[in-house]
């Protein structure tokens, strides 16, 4: 859940701009300003009217709502932010309990299907989303569809995954730092282990935690035609995580802990495998007198640019982003209209404005300082934008390529629980709390207990 909060939360602090565009963007900005002035005039002359209530789980929509109201003074928007962990239960209780005051509701990918089944989200095809569906990234649309393929929610962002790597370390150890070449170092699990060893020999740690492949853990389906599918790729991933942990290739900082963030800024201590990374005193004691290193890479979705922005400190400008062993994604916020809403037309105008209005999307790219839109015309318009923080890399182009490789058809409603059980098995093996056979047997038993309707052939 912390991941989701980080992924979907953006600061609206415009004081420090980390991302600058070249001359083309400056020209775009001038055009935007002119258009904005025109829009304001249009709003003053008329515009939409009414009021909306939005229940969301991050600050993004609150910022967007303020902008929408600015452009449409006749509209008032009341935004409520609910913690992701509580969002589904609170929203479901409210709407299924008859609350018809909520107009726009949201969800992260793993939250959506139960809410679709509960009949909470309006049919957006009927509202007219087909008019711009061809301009949206495919996987984003697929995530927002129910079991019958009806579009129930759409997102303003895409969150494909990649590895954020240190260019300076890559140049020093491997002799090159371009994303294509560095991507080869992460192209398979065997390659990753080789890379880890090369880096270790040079005094670096490939990752801060052994869970950096969590967003790129393979694209095989967990369940196919009602049968559990644990293929060789899953076992290879398991072996890699165990090897990374037991081989001392990481600094033993769990993702999202303070030493994990600290590793983005440069030198950190090698912690012990059993260090409680959530206890500041324990980390401080473990760090005292310990060997130090620098971490080479972090595996994160596209919103990782915001995590990095807030933590890279002096390493700013030393990073690049490359592909991993498979395509993947993580997080993101999908918007939809409550079926109980009395303001569906106005709600749809807001959603359209957020996801498919080029001016809004350009404004959001600037405001969010790094969010990647799902609107293809905006991605193409910024395709040649070079990001100085990432060595002049054309990030929009990169992320679009990654997003186009995502196959959402393999995702099922069982994935979260099964994935958690598989992670538990990996934890058991890597910490030697049990043998591999015991851990895998427990995994199968856990899946059988949790979902008796799934056929399991061991």
């Amino acid at each position: 859940m912390v991941v989701s909060m980080v992924g979907c939360g953006n600061s609206d602090n415009n004081d420090a701009k980390d991302t600058k565009a070249e001359t083309k963007a400056a020209e775009t900005k001038a055009a935007d300003d002119t258009k904005e002035a025109d829009d304001t005039k249009e709003a003053e002359e008329g515009g939409l009217e009414g009021s909306l209530v939005i229940w969301t789980l991050a600050k993004d929509l609150e910022t967007m709502a303020a902008k929408f109201v600015e452009e449409n003074p006749g509209v008032t928007i009341d935004t409520t932010i609910i913690e992701p962990a509580d969002y589904v239960s609170k929203t479901m209780t409210a709407i299924l309990g008859g609350d018809d005051t909520i107009d726009i509701i949201v969800g992260e990918p793993q939250m959506l299907q139960p809410m679709f089944e509960a009949g909470m989200f309006e049919d957006l095809t009927a509202m007219g989303c087909d008019e711009f569906a061809d301009d949206m990234v495919d996987y984003m649309l697929e995530v927002g569809q129910d079991e019958d393929g009806v579009q129930r929610a759409i997102s303003y962002q895409i969150c494909p995954s990649g590895f954020y790597y240190r260019r300076d370390i890559a140049q020093e150890v491997f002799g090159y730092d371009d994303p294509e070449s560095v991507g080869e170092l992460f192209s398979s699990y065997d390659k990753i282990l080789e890379t880890a060893q090369t880096l270790k020999d040079a005094g670096y740690a490939i990752f801060a935690s052994d869970g950096e492949l969590g967003y790129m853990s393979g694209d095989s389906a967990w369940v196919i035609d009602g049968e559990l599918n644990v293929d060789q790729a899953r076992y290879d991933y398991m072996d890699l995580c165990v090897d990374l942990y037991q081989g001392g290739y990481t600094t033993y900082a769990s993702a999202w802990s303070s030493p994990w963030y600290a590793a983005m800024a440069g030198e950190v201590a090698y912690l012990k495998p059993d260090t409680n990374v959530w206890d500041a005193d324990a980390v401080a004691e473990a760090s005292e007198g310990a060997d130090t290193t620098e971490v080479f890479a972090f595996g994160l979705p596209s919103w990782g640019v915001l995590t990095m922005r807030d933590n890279y400190g002096d390493t700013r400008g030393s990073w690049g982003i490359c592909s991993g062993p498979s395509y993947g994604f993580g997080g993101g916020t999908w918007l939809g209209i409550s079926t109980a809403s009395h303001n569906k037309d106005l709600a749809w105008e807001f959603i359209k404005w957020v996801v498919a209005d080029i001016d809004t999307v350009n404004w959001w790219i600037k405001t969010s300082e790094g969010d990647i839109p799902a609107y293809i015309p905006a991605l193409e318009a910024h395709a040649d934008d070079e990001n100085e923080v990432y060595g002049g890399q054309k990030l929009f182009q990169f992320w679009l390529e990654q997003a186009e490789g995502i196959d959402y058809s393999k995702v099922t409603q069982y994935d979260t629980a099964i994935g958690d059980a598989w992670s538990e098995a990996i934890n058991t093996i890597k910490t030697e709390a049990g043998t591999k056979e015991e851990a895998i047997a427990t995994f199968y038993d856990t899946v059988a207990s949790t979902y008796p309707e799934i056929t399991i052939n061991k």
Partner: protein, 303 residues
């Protein structure tokens, strides 16, 4: 005239006033307690997901529960943790009761000690979880540092990472949280015993343990029964402390601290199987009912 007078007298009858006074409570109780309990029973015979339609599926949920080894594991974990806790909790409460009620010692400051012993019960369980997670940290927790530096142990003990230790750690923390509550109730019960019994026993030359066994224990049996049954009900519903300290519903390490309610929570709130979770709730209810009845039968026997 006579019937009007009778009516007026009826209205003035305090019984009716009493009934009117408790109606609000009864209404609220029915809405927020009775109705949910009955609805849960109905849902336990369906495949309800927390939304949508609830399709009747007979006894499937109950059969699934009773044939799931993880349910029995969770039940055994719960009994184990509760069992150790109740023995320590009541044992400690009894010991303190004996000490503070001893006529010979006449220890002063009982009100102060009562407050001190009850304080752990007032601390929020989230705070307790954070506190003990830090104290029991394997590498840098104060407990291990004390044990290693004093030479009691050579290597740090993995208090929260060993299946043979962690459940009992949870039991001990529960004891620390609740022994004060048991002590207060036992002490209040002892203080309610007529002093003449103790004086007569002293005159007859009865020793401390004879007084305890023949006078104190039989006379506090009702409160003892109450404490043990409420402890049983609370213990079998153990959730908060192991959930917070041991990695959520997983019940680390290796499921050894997963209780029945954690198992229920996983199905009811994490995997959208509300119907099944309702059945688990009723299986637990029936188990608690059976054990409570046994306790009443055994504990309620007259000497």
């Amino acid at each position: 005239m006579a019937s009007t007078t009778a009516k007026k007298n009826k209205l003035k009858n305090k019984d009716y006033v009493g009934v009117i006074m408790i109606i609000p409570f009864v209404v609220v109780f029915c809405i927020f307690s009775i109705y949910p309990v009955l609805r849960t029973l109905r849902l336990s015979f369906t495949n309800y997901k927390g939304y949508g339609d609830a399709t009747f599926n007979g006894l499937d949920n109950y059969i699934r529960c009773l044939t799931d080894k993880f349910f029995w594991r969770a039940l055994w974990n719960t009994i184990k943790m509760w069992g150790v806790n109740i023995i320590l909790q009541l044992g400690l409460a009894f010991l303190l009761t004996i000490v503070f009620s001893d006529i010979k010692y006449k220890i002063k400051g009982l009100p102060v000690f009562r407050v001190i012993y009850y304080l752990p019960n007032l601390i929020a369980v989230t705070t307790v979880a954070i506190l003990f997670s830090s104290l029991l940290d394997r590498s840098y927790g104060s407990v291990n540092q004390l044990l290693v530096h004093s030479g009691i142990t050579k290597t740090p003990i993995d208090w929260l990472g060993k299946t043979s230790i962690t459940p009992y750690v949870v039991s001990v923390i529960q004891t620390w949280m609740w022994f004060g509550n048991s002590f207060i109730m036992l002490m209040a019960s002892v203080q309610g015993i007529n002093n003449d019994y103790f004086e007569a026993a002293a005159i007859d030359g009865a020793g401390r343990w004879t007084v305890f066994g023949k006078i104190t224990l039989p006379l506090i049996k009702p409160i003892l029964l109450y404490v043990s049954i409420t402890s049983l009900i609370g213990g079998l519903q153990l959730f908060d402390l192991p959930y917070l300290m041991c990695g959520g519903t997983v019940g680390n390490p290796a499921g050894s601290t997963q209780t029945v309610i954690m198992y229920l929570y996983k199905f009811g709130f994490e995997t959208w199987q509300t119907g099944y979770a309702s059945a688990v709730a009723y299986v637990l209810f029936l188990l608690v009912l059976i054990v409570s009845l046994i306790q009443f039968k055994v504990g309620g026997k007259e000497d």
